[in-house]
């Protein structure tokens, strides 16, 4: 029996994980979800994947969002079930100065590269990730560019990163 309504999914999670699950947020099917405590994310994900009636067999999207005002980095998991065709969103908030979240690469293989990307661009450390290294940027790149306070380096291997505008006099 499929539990497709986000509210019902949330209720199931609440009953299993208690305080680790935040309130239900979002109004549309594509953004309805909840926050999860960073420590519980792997268990929650495994539960969502294996529990009959939920069967979120696909991690559709894993992204990180930087919120400098709230001083957190949010890791967002968009889950999808090919079996029951329903969606759910999980959000994990990590402190901005030393973000660390448990890796779900053991639950969905798709998470492996997506976590590497979030690590590369936002500097979130995924604990338990099999191969956590930069993926898009070169190994010797300074900083994590998708953070809001990222400053572009002046030059990279002798190539300056700015260009004088011809329009200026």
């Amino acid at each position: 029996m499929a539990v497709s309504d986000p509210a019902a999914v949330h209720a199931v999670l609440r009953s299993h994980f208690g305080d680790a699950i935040g309130d239900l947020a979002g109004t549309r099917p594509d953004n309805a979800g909840t926050t999860v405590a960073p420590s519980a994310i792997v268990e929650v994900c495994r539960f969502l994947k294996t529990e009959t009636g939920l069967a979120f067999d696909c991690l559709s999207n894993l992204s990180g969002v930087d919120y400098p005002k709230r001083n957190i980095i949010e890791v967002v998991y968009h889950l999808y079930s090919y079996r029951y065709r329903h969606l759910f969103v999980l959000k994990v908030e990590a402190p901005r100065d030393n973000p660390a979240v448990s890796s779900v690469a053991g639950v969905w293989s798709a998470a492996e590269w997506q976590e590497r990307e979030v690590f590369d661009l936002l500097g979130v450390t995924f604990e338990g990730h099999p191969d956590l290294r930069r993926i898009l940027m070169p190994e010797d790149w300074p900083g994590h560019p998708l953070r809001k306070d990222f400053v572009e380096p002046e030059e990279y291997h002798g190539i300056s990163t700015s260009r004088e505008s011809l329009l200026k006099t």
């Binding site: 594509d30 999207n61 969002v65 967002v76 090919y82 798709a110 492996e112 997506q114 990307e117 661009l121």
Partner: protein, 386 residues
């Protein structure tokens, strides 16, 4: 399960027989078959690969960061460059995300214009994929023939929006231009001519003995594996999963249209091998023609763009839009903080997922097979790197 000849060789080596030194090859970023700038570090024992480790990021153009700098309307041209082979879908994804955040109703005619443009673009993208697949297998001519057909679609789209490749056709709330007079007939006459050509391509290359031998049973991916690695689009359907965003999470006017979702059937070998992925694209082009005929027939009258403020500021919140791009389920996770600039835009693309599975499926293949695998996934470099 019996081992094939080369697996026996590897097994013997694992068992401690004759030991040879592995060869590490760097394939790319400039390599004729990498379709842009990808790199594979190949560990090979002669012709047999132990492993191909993808190395990406050579075309990372920080499009996601730019979205935070240029504003909602201003980001539209950049979406073209996310996937330049199928730019219309990226346009549509961004427009739909903004519309969903701001709860804008798009006029019916605009929706139809979008679908028409997008399906033409899908044919174009699949043509390139099919052609470059043949080129990578060593047949240069089919590629040139598909390029020839692409030119005619380019003509059509150019008349529609003024650009050949990076269309920038859609706007938040609709499309930029209405369909010009006389365009419908041209589009229909193109379809008239193009549909038989698909059969001709099948005759020329798809069922060529050498070609099928090169593709069948190579890098078969089971449905389970495909879902686990989040393969989408033709790559997923090649593994036999009948899933299409257009049908299963319908958006725009797709519910009003009648079309099939072709899936791989393992007709010549294992289910989910390179040939299945290839044939899914071949058949999807026919389906696109079907959709286009319906759209061109049903095209309603009316405006093509809703009234959207120049200074567009959607309400704070986030949304996750999924559309069926030529390379499959494309996810746009857009966060708005209520200002004139998006807070974050993450684009989840099919090629990125397909790239991540290559390391797994490439074990014990031959070097020549790796080329077929890369081509069968229809990778487009900027879609991986963004």
């Amino acid at each position: 399960m019996s081992l094939t000849g080369f697996e026996v060789e590897i097994q013997r080596e694992v068992d401690g027989g004759l030991t040879t030194e592995d060869m590490t090859l760097s394939m790319g970023p400039q390599h004729p078959s990498t379709h842009g700038v990808l790199r594979f570090v190949v560990r090979a024992d002669g012709e047999v690969m132990k492993e191909a480790i993808p190395d990406i990021g050579y075309l990372h153009r920080s499009i996601e960061k730019i979205s935070e700098k240029v504003g909602w309307h201003g980001f539209m041209p950049y979406t073209d460059r996310v996937d330049y082979v199928a730019a219309m879908f990226c346009n549509q994804g961004w427009a739909m995300a903004a519309e969903r955040l701001a709860s804008i109703e798009v006029p019916k005619r605009a929706e139809y214009c979008r679908i028409i443009a997008a399906e033409f673009n899908r044919i174009q993208s699949h043509l390139l994929s099919v052609g470059s697949m043949a080129m990578d297998i060593g047949a240069y001519t089919p590629f040139i023939h598909t390029v020839r057909e692409r030119e005619y679609i380019n003509d059509l789209i150019e008349e529609l929006c003024g650009a050949r490749l990076t269309f920038n056709y859609m706007r938040i709330g609709g499309v930029a231009w209405d369909i010009p007079p006389g365009w419908r007939e041209k589009a229909l006459s193109f379809l008239e001519r193009f549909e038989p050509l698909i059969d001709e391509y099948n005759a020329l290359i798809s069922y060529n003995k050498i070609y099928t031998e090169r593709l069948r049973n190579v890098a078969a991916i089971s449905a389970q594996e495909a879902i686990d690695y989040n393969l989408v689009g033709p790559n997923l359907r090649g593994s036999g999963v009948r899933y299409d965003v257009r049908r299963d999470l319908p958006y725009s006017v797709y519910p009003e249209l009648d079309f099939d979702v072709p899936v791989g059937s393992g007709e010549l070998g294992t289910l989910g091998d390179c040939f299945d992925r290839y044939m899914v694209r071949m058949r999807e082009m026919k389906e696109s023609c079907k959709i286009l005929r319906q759209c061109l027939a049903q095209l309603p009258q009316g405006p093509v763009i809703a009234k959207v403020a120049r200074n567009f500021k959607p309400a704070a919140g986030d949304c996750y839009v999924r559309i069926e791009s030529a390379r499959g389920d494309m996810g746009w996770y857009v966060v708005s903080d209520g200002t004139a600039f998006p807070h974050r835009c993450k684009i989840r693309t099919g090629s990125f997922a397909a790239m991540s599975i290559i390391q797994k499926v490439s074990r014990n293949l031959m070097i020549a097979d790796l080329i077929a695998v890369i081509a069968s996934f229809d990778l487009v470099a900027p879609e991986i790197d963004r």
